[in-house]
Amino acid sequence: MGDRLKGKVAVITGSGRGVGRGIALLMASEGAKIVVNDLGAAVTGAGASAAPADEVVEEIKKMGGQAVANYDSVATVEGGEKIIKTAIDNFNRIDILVNNAGILRDRMIFNMAPEEWDAVIKVHLYGVFNCTKPASVVMRQQRWGRVISMTSTSGVIGNSGQANYGAAKMGIVGFTYVCARDLGKYGVTVNAIAPAAATRMTMSDEVKAAQAIRAARGLAGAGPASQAPPKDAPPAPRGGADPEDVAPLVTYLATEQAANINGRVFYASGGQLSLFSNPEMVKNIYKQGRWTLDELMGLMPRTLAQGLMNPAPPAPPEPTKPA
């Protein structure tokens, strides 16, 4: 047991399993009191059970830590408020909020039902707001706080079949950028992590099947389940990236030492940690007044658009067979 988070109170949403569970256990082992929130639903968000949250609370207590369970959904305003209130009621404060709860409903855009869009946006993007808003009120008053939200390379880079998830996960990045600036002066930092790990969410039979279809059709970003590791990749020591491998970076960002880190996005997978660049204007063209379309037709191909590659170019036309 370390003591880098001694006296701190942390809420980790969706911490009944996977990446969230790893964060809850590690933060508890560093002395934080934990609210283990988990609805106990399926990967699609259906159903509910107290078992996953209760089990992690037991694990923490067995190793000598303090924890309480909460079973509310982050997808509603009331749920978010109750989750934060659980921390206040049991431990009198909230210092650290880890927005981790998430679901998947992968579908190509032209087949995506409004319900599939809505369910994913509600849990991920609304979920982050529903918890961060009430937490930020408390953190602002106490002049200290840490908010760490899970984003994804599916938003930061892009991934086919995930228009809902990609939109939600980049939305979380935008929310992080602004909250960092709204709350920084009160001693609160707000950052995001794009984790990659083998969990029930990323390695489900449905996800693997969908990725195999996308890979077979030659679609970009078909995901890790369909890709062989590069030849020169270091050997995976335990058969892949464990969900517990994300926790040390999250815990680090929650400590005092990380006070200068605010409004940034990191990548965490197994033994690889990275800092993502923020978008910048990398090529510019200028003139006085309005560009004309003719000017752009002449200029763009040898300035801003020069060398841009279509990441999913149309297939060349089938050669016509001789009769």
Partner: protein, 305 residues
């Protein structure tokens, strides 16, 4: 009138005023038939009126172009479907979708109500989905199409706009995914981050605040950035000349256009197996997080006397 978009059919959401109006006029001037969509609401999304859309349709017709008005809201599935249907009913097809409709409800995150959050996410982010989904069904069948989405530089971090930034970066993530999914069907999907003086960016509140504080220079500067100046880049992205540009986002304002970089892992540390917390305490300050500056450092409070 020239003809770089002759025979094309375009929809511009929120084109009763501001940037959207400029886009509708410019697309029509290049020969596109245009659906001018606008609910005619106030900046906060309240109310509705046919007038803004009708006025722009008249402008296009007077200039010799073709246009029809639509007054549906992008923030419902039915609204999105109706907007696409308007193009099919009036012109028989759809080639170009410009998602532009938007509202503002600025508030610091700790004061933001659920309604303020929801209204902005619904119009911007859901609004992009509700029109793009039926458009992509058509684009996939016809093996061509253009979607130009509207993000914002505010998405990269402007105080008091956590709802707007969440929506606007969400649109960037949506754009990246759609580009990957639709590219093989000959469709490109890109986003602009425009900056112009409109009723959205120069509100009456801002004007009054500037006059109170004597800082009217900013208002004058914003007024010099004409909303019509965004349109040429949108027309270019909609043209065949831009077929290699897919999944990217651009800053666009009067006389200046910039390509944004895509996020890359700019600093990386690796080891076999996961790092421990101890290792991160030792390593991060000299590697990944070295030199990072808090954009809003903690305010030093004056000692109480």
């Amino acid at each position: 009138m020239v003809d770089k978009l002759k025979g094309k059919v375009a929809i511009v959401t929120g084109s009763g005023g501001g940037i959207g109006r400029g886009e509708a006029l410019a697309l029509a001037a290049e020969g596109a038939k245009v659906v001018v969509n606008d609910v005619g609401a106030a900046l906060t999304g309240v109310g509705g009126s046919a007038k803004p859309a009708d006025t722009v349709v008249d402008e296009i017709k007077k200039a010799g172009g073709e246009a029809v008005a639509n007054y549906d809201s992008v923030s419902t599935p039915e609204g999105g479907e109706n907007i696409i249907k308007t193009a099919l009913n009036a012109f028989g097809k759809l080639d170009i979708l410009v998602n532009n409709a938007g509202i503002l409800r600025d508030k610091m995150v700790f004061n933001m109500t659920n309604e303020e959050w929801d209204a902005v996410i619904k119009v911007h982010l859901y609004g992009h989905f509700y029109t793009s989904r039926p458009a992509c069904v058509l684009f996939r069948q016809q093996k061509s199409g253009r979607i130009i989405n509207t993000s914002s530089i505010s998405g990269l971090g402007n105080r008091g706009q956590s709802n707007y930034a969440a929506a606007k970066e969400g649109i960037v993530g949506f754009t990246r995914t759609l580009a990957l999914e639709m590219g093989k069907y000959g469709v490109t999907v890109n986003a602009i981050r425009p900056n112009a003086g409109t009723r959205m960016t120069i509100s009456d509140d801002m004007r009054q605040a500037a006059e109170r504080t004597g800082r009217t220079g900013m208002i004058q500067y914003m007024e010099s950035l004409k909303p019509e100046d965004v349109a040429p880049m949108v027309v270019w992205l909609a043209s065949d000349a831009a077929s290699n540009v897919n999944g990217r986002n651009f800053f666009v304002q009067t006389g200046r256009i910039a390509l944004f970089s895509e996020p890359v892992q700019e600093k990386v540390i690796m080891k076999r197996g996961g790092f421990t917390v101890d290792e991160l305490f030792a390593m991060l300050p000299t590697t990944l997080t070295q030199g990072l500056i808090n954009p809003a450092p903690k305010e030093v409070e004056a000692p109480k006397s």
